[in-house]
């Protein structure tokens, strides 16, 4: 397939995602309004009178019909205005720009950790079935899925911060004695590096290690299990026998032949794990006081902060579309049989 063809197909895929994003906008709009609870009552406070509640409702535009409200929301959205979060008072766009990188940075590091442990472990387990590595892999997988994230998180804080004292306090992205680096990508570690400030880089990284490992342990399980299973299946296939019969080196057979073929199911799992992590790291964010998008969404949801919830869901939807597209592209790079059309 020619490069220009590929680019055209990728562009086509992005266009195809537009209807689903429009669908998501409509559905979240309706769902947030179907939620129990009246934001006007909530923000008026416990001592509010009927009149003041009515005033707040009017000022939020909630007295208008659903259709009118949607029209206002949609036309604002078209101008890139996501509205104002009534709970924080800041514009939703600003909140997302500030919080999304925090979550993404944490998720990426957790994913890196999880890949770094799960893939070698899975490969080692598959090449030596029923050996101690295989048993160890089994234990890690079982432990990973059965230990709840908040538990591992609290346990790590207890052990590494409280008892051993080698981890920094679990209080967000950066210790207060440091200034946050100039915002370029929003990723503190990368921004600090771009700024040439290695001290801040180290500080930001050390804040991230515990939450990233906590998150990573949970996602390690499906990845390690999938790697082991996929490798086992590929290693028993005919072409591996051919490769061995041709005298190819063990490393060539294992990596060039087996692993590249096992990569396809691993990639699929990776995509699922990643999207799962983004949406569900709220527990980790709570434990480590991480100013991420998950805790923002939960708080917004509790107080029926419509604009914030809608903004969050929209950001997630776009992220998912991009994620799936990335995985599709990587798929075609790995497997020549996969066309982007399907």
């Amino acid at each position: 397939m020619k490069r220009s063809d590929k680019l055209r197909i990728i562009f086509g895929r992005l266009i195809q995602a537009i209807p689903s994003i429009i669908g998501i906008i409509i559905v979240t709009f309706i769902l947030t309004r179907a939620l129990p609870g009246d934001p006007a009552v909530y923000f008026a406070g416990p001592a509010a009178t009927e009149k003041s509640i009515q005033e707040i409702r009017t000022s939020l535009g909630l007295d208008k019909s659903m259709l009118e409200q949607f029209w206002i929301y949609a036309s604002n959205l078209a101008r890139g205005d996501l509205g104002v979060s009534v709970s924080t008072g800041l514009s939703v766009k600003e909140e997302l720009i500030r919080r999304l990188p925090a979550s993404l940075e944490l998720t990426f590091l957790a994913l890196l950790f999880s890949i770094g442990v799960a893939l070698p472990l899975g490969i080692a387990a598959a090449t030596r079935p029923n050996s101690w590595v295989d048993q160890f892999c089994r234990i890690v997988v079982t432990a990973g899925v059965s230990l709840p994230v908040f538990f591992t998180g609290l346990f790590m804080v207890y052990l590494f911060y409280y008892i051993l004292g080698i981890a920094p306090a679990p209080l967000g992205r950066l210790d207060i004695i440091y200034l946050s680096p100039p915002s370029i990508t929003g990723f503190y570690t990368i921004d600090a590096l771009l700024d040439g400030d290695f001290e801040t880089f180290g500080a930001a990284l050390s804040q991230m290690i515990l939450p990233a490992i906590t998150l990573g342990i949970f996602t390690l399980a499906p990845l390690a299990r999938m790697t082991r299973g996929a490798m086992l299946q590929v290693l028993s296939s005919d072409f591996i026998r051919t490769a061995r019969a041709s005298g190819l080196k063990r490393s060539t057979v294992l990596y060039t032949y087996a692993f590249r073929n096992a990569l396809l199911p691993i990639l699929t799992t990776l995509g699922m794990v990643f999207s799962f992590m983004l949406g569900s790291n709220v527990l980790v964010e709570k434990v480590f006081a991480w100013p991420g998008i998950g805790s923002f969404a939960i708080e917004a949801l509790i107080v029926s902060d419509y604009a914030a919830v809608q903004g969050f869901v929209l950001a997630m939807a776009i992220l998912y579309v991009l994620l799936n597209l990335t995985i599709d592209i990587v798929y075609t790079l790995v497997d020549p049989r996969v066309g982007l059309e399907s």
């Binding site: 296939s237 490769a243 061995r244 041709s246 005298g247 190819l248 080196k249 060039t256």
Partner: protein, 323 residues
């Protein structure tokens, strides 16, 4: 031929598979010899131990399989005693193997040119500069049209017959002395089958290679092989020149196998199936593993250990009561 020493010499080989449901005695006391320049057929039903013998000779037996007795010598190399590094160098360089279902026997996500190149590179037959040229040369030897374009093809873009040619090119890339072809034409259509078999025969003759053809197709073995070894349930039951075996089969199993093979011009009604199936290879087995299916079975078959009799020069039968 028999005055020189054999290239592949398997002596009294026994192989067991330890499975969850018990120990499977896949091979028992198997001896066979293959000389340079000859094409030897190993014939038998599925599960008779043809492939296990070949895989053991290549040193790539499944980890569940264990050699319990015997020796294998390949061009003077003690295969069962050699280390993995030695065996790796041996594979591809001294002995190669091709398999059935060529499409799944090639790496689906690597171009066929690169796969042949991997083998050449591994055995130091080519460096980065002349790799492509050497691969194309080996594609030419298996008569692949337009080899320059095929270099960059993936297996899924080629037909089954073409894939088998690629497999042969890969196996012969480093000019091995022994080629083992394990049911090379299974799953190919009839005209392609003949073309592939002709190719294997021609290349074997040209290079004076020892060739082992594993097949369940007795007629094909008769067409292409100088000598045939018949296997049943992990035993060698009869061996001899193709001519001897065809004109006067001495083991009841060989005779039945021939009756079960369709011949051109023959009547379909003449085809007789062999009663029963292969015995369960777990547990205690009688000395003759064919006795349960044999019409000539008598008390002596169960009491005496099996011995190999030379019924005529170079024609051996393992049977107490040969035909």
């Amino acid at each position: 031929m028999s005055n020189t020493f054999p290239l592949l010499d398997i002596k009294n080989l026994s192989v067991e598979f330890r499975t969850r449901s018990g120990v499977v005695k896949a091979l028992e006391d198997v001896s066979l010899e293959v000389f340079r320049g000859e094409i030897v057929g190993i014939v038998g039903e599925s599960g008779s131990g043809k492939s296990v013998s070949a895989l053991t000779a290549m040193g790539i037996l499944d980890p569940a399989g264990h050699v319990t007795a015997g020796s294998i010598s390949l061009g003077g190399l003690d295969v069962l005693g050699a280390g993995e590094a030695v065996l790796q160098t041996m594979r591809g360089q001294q002995a190669s193997m091709i398999f059935q279902s060529p499409r799944t026997s090639l790496n689906p996500i690597r171009t066929v040119g690169k796969q042949i190149g991997d083998v050449l590179h591994r055995h130091n037959m080519a460096d980065r500069q002349n790799l492509r040229e050497k691969v194309i040369k080996s594609l030419k030897t298996v008569r692949i049209p337009d080899p320059d374009r095929r270099f960059d093809a993936y297996p899924f873009e080629l037909s089954g017959g073409m894939c088998q040619r690629i497999m042969i090119a890969m196996a012969l890339a480093c000019s091995p002395e022994l080629l083992i072809a394990d049911e090379p034409t299974t799953g190919l259509d009839v005209t392609t089958q003949a073309a592939i078999m002709d190719l294997i025969r021609d290349l074997s003759r040209e290079r004076n290679m020892a060739t082992v053809l594993i097949t369940h197709d007795l007629a094909m073995a008769a067409d292409y092989c100088d000598r045939i070894i018949v296997m049943h349930a992990g035993h060698v039951v009869e061996s001899g020149s193709s001519h001897d075996l065809f004109t006067s089969p001495r083991h009841p199993y060989t005779a039945k196998l021939m009756k079960a093979t369709p011949h051109g011009g023959g009547n379909l009604d003449d085809i007789a199936s062999i009663p029963g199936g292969l015995p369960d290879l777990r547990g205690v087995l009688p000395p003759c593993r064919f006795s349960g299916r044999c019409e000539r079975h008598e008390a002596i078959c169960d009491s005496s250990a099996m011995i190999s009799k030379e019924v005529s020069p170079n024609h051996f039968v393992n049977c107490q009561r040969p035909l």
